[in-house]
């Protein structure tokens, strides 16, 4: 298991998102959100992202979300995969 520190998951299809995490930077969590539905669901997306990171025990790093209207389950999944990939757990 090689900890690469950077991981990405997802796509830019409608109802999906791309999550890019860099766990090697910063002292705390820095989440950047771009979303086609930011005005209506921005807070909700951020909440789900934070929750998922917490479950993964991620406390610092730069997280970039480019969202195309994904539902919560997809947000959770993409964050999880991106983190796992960053940690080199990508089987």
């Amino acid at each position: 298991m090689e900890n690469k520190g950077i991981g990405q998951a997802g796509s830019l299809e409608s109802n999906d998102l791309i999550v890019t995490v860099n766990l090697m930077v910063g002292e705390e969590l820095d989440i950047e959100l771009e979303s086609t539905v930011k005005e209506k669901f921005g807070k909700q997306i951020l909440r789900v992202v934070k929750e998922t990171l917490e479950e993964q025990e991620i406390t610092k790093g730069h997280i970039k979300i480019v969202d195309k209207g994904a539902l919560d389950f997809a947000v959770r999944a993409r964050v999880k995969t991106a983190v796992k990939r960053a940690q080199g757990r990508d089987i």
Partner: protein, 518 residues
């Protein structure tokens, strides 16, 4: 702060807006009585011979007496391929003229250069059916326009013109083909767009009418859509539009299985209503599932040997095929959407051009919308009161068009909204739509892929739908189903500033659009 009143659907409406004047609040779809006389233009005369051709747009502006504060009108038959609005306003700006109101039947992404003209004070007012692209964003987010933009329906626009609510000083008519004496048709030349329906009221009521073409034909340019009797000047320019932005090749029925499913459910609903019978009339929007409803009705018509009276509205090749198969007696066409429709209106006497007034004006002696049996509508949002938004997006920004939505909903015996329950993450059914274009009292039902909701005022329709095995539920249940998937949407942040007024087809104000702030 202005005095405001709550209108019939509970929206706060100001009673007065600086630069626009007194406003009348919406009182219900059928409650506003028109008063007064039709607007008149000055009498004129012309002599034998006579030359209407001018050198260029600047010349025409001078001859028409362009000055600060005037209203210039344009049609949107060239859609995103239109060059004329930008050409004329560029010229106006060069002449140092200010404070112009653009009175367009609609504005598109291609009209983005207006942003600079607005910022420079050349343009201070816009009245239109819709605005797409960056211009809408600049108006809603940056509040660049002094006066709120006035949004009108396709029927409300000729009403406003005839009533003199909006007085057009100069109408600029982009003409696919014209002769030197001002006769215009839409079916010839490189920018052929078919029907010229949205330009007709402008020609009739404007103080001055300038025809602009890049395709001058020998006199007389027949068939005549806009006659010489209304035209002051003709200007030939190099290019008035980009054909690729005007019409598409052929409009196809959607292949998206979800949209097809919605359309099939909607066709079942329409059939259940009992309106699909000999001599019925029909109109559908062109987007996504709407047109596909025609596809399923076509099957039913062929199967049962039903022949309709007319199909109306914006026309596509698909409706042309139905006309040619004898499934409709007539197409009443205010705007052609594809080349097949253009070709058909040119050659088929049963494919008839109609003006926006004939199509949808509520204050004449009878419009086509009133003769419609079935209307299939789209929606950006619909609320639990069945009010529909088709003008502002999920971010509150103006991005769509009012079009014939409220006109046909008010006129048709049965008006059905078809929409996916979710668009991306956005639920279509909400507590309160961002902006009301069409009041819920004129909407009978909404059909989605997960269920059908009927306006509680239409109990008999609900019974018919249930009997036909449709998955009927309350609109609140549909909303809950959507929110279970998406979560509850937040409210858009707006400031108090009013950037748009939505005028109902009868001239009353049904809603306002407020500035969106981060």
């Amino acid at each position: 702060m202005n005095n405001t009143v709550k209108n019939a659907i509970g929206r706060e409406i100001p009673l007065f807006i600086e630069g626009i004047g007194k406003l009348k609040a919406f009182q219900g779809a059928y409650n506003n009585m028109p008063e007064g006389l039709k607007h008149g233009t000055k009498l004129t005369r012309a002599f034998k011979g006579g030359e209407k051709c001018l050198w260029d747009l600047k010349d025409s502006l001078k001859k028409c007496g362009i000055k600060d504060g005037m209203t210039l009108s344009f049609h949107h038959h060239f859609r995103n391929g239109d060059f004329l609005v930008n050409q004329v306003i560029d010229e106006v700006a060069k002449m140092g003229i200010k404070d112009i109101t653009i009175f367009a039947s609609s504005l598109q992404g291609v009209h983005k250069p207006l942003i600079e003209h607005i910022k420079n004070g050349v343009v201070t007012g816009i009245e239109t059916s819709g605005i797409r692209g960056e211009l809408g964003e600049a108006i809603t987010k940056d509040h660049i326009l002094k006066k709120p933009v006035i949004i009108r329906s396709h029927g409300g626009r000729p009403r406003a013109i005839a009533a003199g609510d909006s007085k057009i000083d100069i109408a600029f008519l982009a003409a696919p083909a014209a002769d030197r004496y001002g006769n215009v048709n839409g079916v010839e030349g490189p920018t052929a767009c078919g029907s010229m329906g949205y330009a007709m009221a402008d020609a009739e009521y404007a103080e001055k009418v300038v025809v602009v073409t890049d395709y001058l034909v020998d006199y007389p340019a027949t068939p005549v859509s806009i006659p010489q009797t209304l035209v002051d000047y003709v200007v030939k320019v190099e290019k008035i539009g980009d054909p690729t932005g005007i019409v598409s090749g052929a409009t196809r029925i959607t292949k998206n299985p979800l949209e097809l499913m919605i359309a099939e459910e909607a066709s079942k609903a329409v059939i259940a209503s009992g309106l699909v019978k000999e001599g019925f009339s029909f109109q559908a929007g062109t987007g996504g599932p709407s047109l596909a409803v025609a596809h399923f009705l076509r099957k039913k018509m062929v199967q049962d040997g039903i022949k309709g009276s007319f199909a109306a509205g914006g026309t596509t090749g698909y409706l042309v095929d139905m006309l040619n198969e004898g499934l409709f007696k007539t197409l009443l066409d205010v705007q052609c959407f594809d080349l097949k429709a253009v070709e058909s209106i040119k050659t088929n006497p049963n494919h008839v051009e109609m003006s926006a007034d004939f199509y949808a004006n509520p204050h004449n002696k009878g419009c086509v919308a009133n003769q419609l049996d079935i209307m299939i509508l789209s929606a950006t949002e619909i609320d639990v009161d069945f009010n529909v938004n088709v003008i502002t997006g999920s971010n509150g920004v103006i991005m769509g068009a009012s079009g014939g939505h409220s006109d046909t909903a008010a006129g048709a015996k049965l008006s059905i909204v078809v929409a996916p329950l979710l668009r991306g993450r956005l639920p279509i059914i909400v507590d309160e739509v961002t902006t009301v274009i069409t009041p819920g009292e004129t909407i009978d039902a909404v059909v989605t892929e997960r269920g059908v909701a009927v306006n509680p005022a239409r109990k008999e329709l609900e019974d018919q739908f249930r009997a036909a095995g449709l998955n009927v539920m309350s609109i609140e249940e549909l909303k809950a189903m959507a929110e279970k998937l998406t979560g509850k949407p937040e409210r858009i942040n707006t400031s108090g500033e009013i950037v748009g007024l939505v005028e109902y087809r009868d001239g009353t104000i049904i809603d306002v659009i407020r500035r969106v702030v981060e």
